[in-house]
Subunit: 275 residues, 4 copies
């Protein structure tokens, strides 16, 4: 009995073929590559208008943006809340793509599900199992980020909490783990991506913005993620990173963003993905 | 402005003297040393009766026990819920000491506060800031455990979330951090304890059970915690560790428990603590 | 004065253009991509004959093989010593490529330099600064592996020990760092590769065999290394990994090796490298 | 056969009782507690005279000091070499205690053994197995420091390299391991000390100076080490830490040193040690 308690159910043994997850009209996985982009935090209407302008006519298939922001300091900017959701909905509408935002507390869920096309569970909450189960019941696609010090086994068990609650629209996201080297915010673990692709049928994407904390490394790590077998890349961008209220140092400015998507798209297509 | 966002408020500058926190009739900190003990998870009436028997007439001032258990695997034992709270209340009553249990989700709070004398926020939830704020509003003492990969600065900022919500009955608990060496479940960071005692006026206790994952190291690490300046030690005990539904390998059996409290009490008294 | 003690000299400020390092007739860096392969340890003439057979007519430009093996246990196989060097020399001769082997002690140097075309300083010795200085004086190209818990800054300072001793034929090798997740032997840090390429003019290669410890992840991580901007990939291969005296689980068998070099070469060429 | 290669020989199974190691007239282990102190690096005659003055008439039983200093940067102070050995010999003579210094390279050995009473192998060299074997043959007591990212198993295997070379005058030294939290230089792993005491019959001491990197934590961690069961504590002290050429922030000044030894001696005696 002990054995079965600790055995993963939702592996390639359960479903040998790769599963594609649809977020609105955007398909992710099983040959469909996702480019997701947006600001760390939604800050203002003008910020979102600027982002919409340079995201337009790119292959980005999912807008991301923070409304309720978990911050290390209680005195730091905590997000615009529902106002951010309204701005994301407008921007996503104008771009004709879906949007995703992070759920940090069950009490925000009712508000969030009125707007969002998909729900993100962030790194800090990967092991908040009650939250996982509640989020799973919303019948929306979920991007689950790996905890910053979670083993791949723990990550896969967190996936089980969602899958076992009946929601199989799951996308895993590697976003870097903690290490002794603080030159970088995190160490992006692409070996985990290659390993996860063998274990789970669900799509696996990569967040190289948090995975390095440095905008000058985002392109190289995005290309590496594509080559490692990821099903998508999700990054942070800001019209003016220096003035960003959070995560400026890892956000691509419009020019870097333009270069980024051209190169990532080209490599993904070369390796046989649809975008 | 940025500066102040990232400055701790509730430090020794704010309150130079050590703060004592009262959990029911048990005082912790500022010279009052806490021995806390109990099972990882409440499993049955007979288990709790057995524990009550050997905790009786010891200096243990706080009973601990898990009712809602966060487990890596969704298929593992998840705790008895409210039934556990009833059993803890009975045992604590017979021992004439207060009891504490972990809050893993806001939806359990109403139930828990009907029984518990103090609330624990566990390592997995140290960065669940919305949970911290909600727990803070219950007007009960809180033991906040350090996240398994949280820096001491992040730990202190998590304390700020509680303190800034108006609750100053806070006890910090070092419980070991993740390292590359998996001979042990965690590495107990007693340097952090010594450092935290200088930074924060709130009591700082140590959990050597999770801090090592091995019952044969719990006594040595408890004594080390006392000598490092901790205000208390919280451990796991079980009448029959081999049959425990969780954390058996790190739980003290009755004989080891008996030796443990005698030695810890003796050293704490020698170093000038009240118990 | 303190400042200058801690400033790197041999950066892109010193030499803005990428430096190519020649190992015999094989050029590495500045557009020239290196495929290096061979056994972890040289074990026997028949093993080396087998390897030579399947390395022939591949783009592998450097043979690697261990002669003096540093092993965690003193009771494990420690390498064939000079006999291994003779076998490597023969194999390299038949393949018409140079070979490299690791130097673990200055007392082996005189023997090694009679045979080897390049010298490797391994992860365990990255901070053995006296060894670095002595190796630097041999006037041979050096592959310096990153210590398993070295920061990138410490890695770059180790490079300085060699460069400042007058040897500028240096190739840096990222080989994975220690983490809390022991599902893998190490975590390959491709963010460090992208960062190092910006800081140092010397070539930077990647060892995905040690970087994962699993042969089934070597191809994906090799491709990721290419995409991240590495100047080469060095892997372990064995005619029969199950019987290998060391590192069998991370060694490619002949079929996997064949698939590996075809895919790595194709991606490297696609991204504009010469091989 | 594989099994035996990876089995430790020199454990409590081999020698159930604790072994005492004699360094000159100073006995360490099996009830004899060691206080070792001295500067990180020997800098000048006046520095050593100052240190000798305040070490006199203390229970310090071993003088430590760096002559050949391994430094991250090749441009940092590298030690005075033989001149340092002469100064250490003089100081130790005036204190009537033995002295120890670190061996970083086999080429320094002949010089060092003309002066030193014991040899230290530092953290960076714990896995320099050839160096371990050579040092072992000098017939002097050895303090072997744990590598900064070595598991306890790797540490114990490094001990085997020395023991198997015939030298059983070994003292293990825990000195902190690397973690994600860079508030401290290292995380002192006292769980490892408790564990090592059960596994190995050789004495185990602790270096809380490197174990924290902060002089204000050295006393607390020294007391914790005593309580955890260590056989000694080795610290860095300097007459004027602000002007120290290396490791100033973790060095005790004379006043702090005076308080330190009184408290450590008192606790060690209380717990039954001879000093």
């Amino acid at each position: 009995m002990k054995e079965s308690m600790h055995t993963l159910k939702y592996t390639r043994d359960w479903h040998p073929e790769s599963i594609a997850v649809d977020i609105g009209s955007t398909r992710v996985g099983n040959g469909h590559f996702l480019l997701a982009a947006g600001p760390c935090a939604v800050e203002s209407p003008s910020q979102m208008t600027a982002i919409s302008t340079y995201l337009k006519e790119t292959p980005v298939g999912l807008l991301r943006g923070g409304a309720f922001k978990p911050r290390t300091s209680p005195y730091a900017f905590q997000g615009l809340g529902e106002e951010a959701l309204i701005l994301l909905k407008e921007a996503a509408g104008s771009l004709k793509i879906p949007f995703i935002t992070e759920v940090t507390d069950v009490n925000h869920l009712d508000t969030i599900v009125r707007y969002a096309d998909a729900l993100q569970v962030g790194s800090r909450n990967m092991s908040s199992y009650e939250l996982l189960k509640t989020v799973a019941r919303q019948n929306l696609p979920i991007i689950l980020k790996r905890g910053m010090s979670a083993t791949v086994e723990e990550f896969l068990f967190a996936v089980e909490y969602i899958a076992d609650a009946g929601n199989h629209q799951i996308i895993l996201c590697e976003r870097g783990i903690r290490s002794f080297d603080t030159a970088f915010r995190n160490v992006l673990d692409l070996g985990a991506v290659a390993y996860l692709k063998k274990q789970t049928p669900f799509p696996v994407i990569v967040d190289p913005s948090h995975g390095s904390g440095r905008s000058d490394l985002v392109l190289s790590l995005s290309l590496a993620a594509v080559a490692a077998g990821a099903d998508g890349v999700m990054i942070e961008t800001h019209p003016n990173p220096e003035s960003a209220l959070s995560d400026g140092p890892q956000s691509l400015d419009p020019a870097a963003f333009d270069n980024w998507w051209h190169q990532v798209e080209a490599l993904a297509r070369h390796l046989g993905h649809n975008i």
